[in-house]
C-alpha cells in the first residue's frame, strides 16, 4: 500500500518560508477555491495556510541552536481527525494515503480540528470549511506536467532540498531511505497517530581529521630527513629531457 508523505530535514531547513509562499500560491489558485487572506494590509493580517514555518531556540545562551520547523498536515496512517467527522467530508485515500477534505461536504463544525493534536487544520474564514495540506494532490498526478514538476509545490520551492517527497512504504524510495538512514522520526509519537510525514533530526556536521592526515606519516622526508643532494656530475633533469 502506498503512503505518500514528506520528509523534512531540520538539519537543512534555513527557515526561508519559500515552501509557505509557494504552497499558498499553488493552492490558492486551484479549483478548490482561494485560501483567504483577511485584512492583508491591516493591523492583524490573517489567512489560511496549509504550511507554516516556525522557529525555536534550543538550549541556553551561549549554547543555543535555532531550529526552523516547517509544519503541515502529517497525513497520519491512523488519522484521528477522520473518524470524528460527522459528514464523511474528511477521508483518507486508500490508494495513496493522503488525508483530504471534501469542501462540498464539510459543514464547518471544526470537530476535526479539535481531534488533530498537531493543529494541522485551519478553518477558512471565507469559505467556512476546514482546509489542510493536500500534498498537492492536484499536481502530483497531473500528467501534463513533467515528472520533475509532479511534486508538491513546497518540495519544488525548497532552495536547500530540505523537503523530500515520496512513498514511505516503498523501502527503496528516497524518503524511506532518508528516514531509515538518517534517524527520521514522527511528531508526538505518544498518541499513536503514526504520522506519515517524518522529520530528520539536527546533526552536528563534523569533519573528522586525524593527526596523521595533516602530516604524512610515510613522508620520506620524515624518515630520511632530506633527500641526498645529487652530485654535481650526476645527470640532472635538464640532461634527460630535451625540447
Amino acid at each position: 500500500m502506498t503512503q505518500l508523505a514528506l520528509v523534512i530535514d531540520l538539519n537543512v531547513c534555513v527557515g526561508c518560508h519559500a515552501c509557505v509562499t509557494n504552497c499558498k500560491e499553488w493552492n490558492t489558485s486551484g479549483a478548490a477555491g482561494p485560501m483567504v487572506d483577511m485584512n492583508p494590509y491591516g493591523k492583524d493580517p490573517t489567512g489560511t495556510f496549509f504550511n507554516r514555518v516556525q522557529t525555536f531556540e534550543v538550549g541556553e545562551f551561549p549554547n543555543t541552536e535555532t531550529v526552523h520547523f516547517p509544519k503541515s498536515c502529517l497525513h497520519c496512517e491512523e488519522p484521528p481527525c477522520v473518524p470524528v467527522c460527522p459528514t464523511g467530508a474528511s477521508y483518507k485515500r486508500k490508494e495513496d494515503g493522503i488525508v483530504l477534505v471534501d469542501y462540498d461536504k464539510c459543514i464547518g463544525c471544526k470537530y476535526c480540528s479539535w481531534a488533530c493534536p498537531y493543529g494541522a487544520r485551519e478553518l477558512d474564514e471565507q469559505q467556512r470549511v476546514m482546509k489542510k495540506c493536500t500534498l498537492c494532490v492536484d499536481r502530483i498526478y497531473d500528467t501534463t506536467m513533467t515528472a520533475e514538476e509532479r511534486r508538491p509545490a513546497c518540495v519544488r520551492a525548497c532552495p536547500t532540498s530540505a523537503r523530500l517527497f515520496g512513498d514511505i512504504h516503498d523501502p527503496e524510495s528516497e524518503v524511506a531511505k532518508a528516514i531509515r538512514e538518517n534517524g527520521g522520526y514522527p511528531l508526538m509519537p505518544e498518541w499513536g497517530t503514526q504520522p506519515a510525514n517524518h522529520y530528520l533530526p539536527r546533526r552536528k556536521t563534523k569533519l573528522r581529521i586525524r593527526e596523521d592526515e595533516l602530516e604524512r606519516a610515510d613522508n620520506p622526508l620524515k624518515i630520511d630527513q632530506q633527500l641526498p643532494k645529487p652530485g654535481k656530475s650526476e645527470p640532472s633533469l635538464d640532461d634527460v629531457t630535451s625540447w
Binding site: T46, F49, P80, P83, V84, P86, I107, P117, E122, R128
Partner: protein, 325 residues
C-alpha cells in the same frame, strides 16, 4: 480551548430539556405503579412542551457553530464512527418522541396495550415515554462522548465527562420539573425537588472529582515530543505568523488564569450550592417561586460551568503556538 457560546448553550439547553423530560417520565412511572397519585395530563403536556422548547433552542444554538448550517443534514452520515454524527441523529429522534409524548398527553389519547402482572397499565404514553427515556440517556452519552472520546484533550478524556453531562443536565431538568410541578401538580413537587436536590449533590461530587482529577493531570505532549528534539530547554521564537490564525483563535480562551479560577468557584457556588439551598427551602416551604429561582440560578451556573469546561481544556497543538515573534 476557546469556549464557543453556541456549544455552551446547546449542551446546557438540551441537557436541561432531557432532564425535564426524565423528571416527567419519573412522575408517570411512579404514578403507573401507584406510588404517586395520577396527575393531570396537562402537567405532562406543558412539561413536554417546555422540554421541547429547550431542545429546539439548543438545536438553534448549535447551528450558529456551523460554517455551513444548510449542509447540517449531512452530519447524520458517519454514525458508525462519529459521536457527533450519533448526536445529530439522536437529538431529533428524541425531540420527535417528546413531541409525540406531549401530544398524546395533551389530547388524552392513551390506549392501553397490555397489563403488567402488577396491574400497571402499558399504555401509549408509557411506550412513547420509555422510548424517549432511552433516547434521552443515549443523547447524554452522545453529547458527553463527543468530548470524552478525544484522547489528547486529556481534561475531557475520562468517563467522568459523560457522567457529569448526565448529572448536570438531570439536575437542571429536575429543578425545572420541580418548579413546574409546584405550579401544576403540587402532589409530586416534593418528589421532583427531592430528586433535584439529590442529583445536584451527585453533580457536585462528579464535577468536583473531575476538577481534582484535572488539577493533577500532567501533560503527555511536551515541546520535546512535539518537535522531536530531546533538550530540556526549548523556546519558541516565532509561530510563523504575526496576525493570528485559526490555531490561535480556536484553541486559546485568551483569559487570565485568575479569571478561570474565579469562574470555577462561581460555578461551584451557583450551579450546586445555591440551588441546593434554594431547593431545600422550596421543598420545605412548598414555594414554587423559590424552586423556579433555583432552576434559573442553576442554569446560569451551568453556563459558567460549561464555559469553564471548554476553557480549561488544553489542546496539545498550543505547544506550536506559544510566541508570535
Amino acid at each position: 480551548m476557546h469556549p464557543a457560546f453556541s456549544v455552551v448553550f446547546l449542551t446546557t439547553l438540551i441537557g436541561a430539556g432531557q432532564g425535564l423530560f426524565l423528571a416527567l417520565f419519573t412522575v408517570e412511572s411512579y404514578a403507573a405503579f401507584g406510588l404517586l397519585p395520577t396527575q393531570s395530563s396537562d402537567f405532562y403536556a406543558v412539561g413536554s412542551a417546555l422540554a421541547l422548547v429547550l431542545l429546539i433552542l439548543g438545536l438553534v444554538a448549535s447551528f450558529f457553530h456551523l460554517g455551513h448550517p444548510e449542509r447540517a443534514w449531512r452530519a447524520a452520515a458517519q454514525w458508525r464512527t462519529s459521536w457527533l454524527s450519533r448526536e445529530v441523529i439522536v437529538l431529533p429522534a428524541f425531540m420527535g418522541m417528546v413531541f409525540l409524548y406531549g401530544v398524546a398527553h395533551w389530547f388524552g389519547f392513551n390506549p392501553v396495550f397490555a397489563q403488567l402482572p402488577s396491574g400497571a397499565p402499558v399504555n401509549l404514553t408509557a411506550v412513547l415515554g420509555s422510548v424517549a427515556w432511552v433516547l434521552a440517556f443515549a443523547l447524554y452519552i452522545c453529547t458527553g462522548m463527543i468530548y470524552a472520546c478525544l484522547r489528547f484533550l486529556r481534561e475531557w478524556y475520562t468517563p467522568l465527562t459523560v457522567i457529569n453531562y448526565v448529572l448536570l443536565g438531570g439536575a437542571s431538568g429536575f429543578s425545572l420539573g420541580a418548579a413546574l410541578a409546584a405550579a401544576q401538580a403540587p402532589d409530586v413537587m416534593p418528589l421532583l425537588a427531592g430528586w433535584a436536590l439529590i442529583i445536584t449533590f451527585l453533580g457536585l461530587i462528579g464535577r468536583s472529582a473531575t476538577l481534582i482529577r484535572n488539577a493533577r493531570l500532567k501533560p503527555k505532549s511536551t515541546l520535546q515530543t512535539a518537535l522531536g528534539i530531546k533538550h530540556p530547554q526549548i523556546v519558541q521564537k516565532t509561530m510563523g505568523l504575526m496576525g493570528g490564525s485559526f490555531n490561535t483563535r480556536e484553541f486559546f480562551h485568551g483569559q487570565k488564569p485568575a479569571l478561570l479560577r474565579s469562574v470555577k468557584w462561581v460555578f461551584l457556588v451557583t450551579a450546586f450550592l445555591v440551588p441546593m439551598v434554594l431547593l431545600g427551602m422550596g421543598l420545605s416551604m412548598a414555594a414554587g417561586g423559590v424552586l423556579l429561582l433555583a432552576f434559573v440560578i442553576q442554569y446560569l451556573g451551568l453556563l459558567a460551568e460549561r464555559w469553564f469546561f471548554f476553557a480549561q481544556s488544553n489542546h496539545p497543538q498550543n505547544l506550536y503556538y506559544q510566541s508570535v515573534a
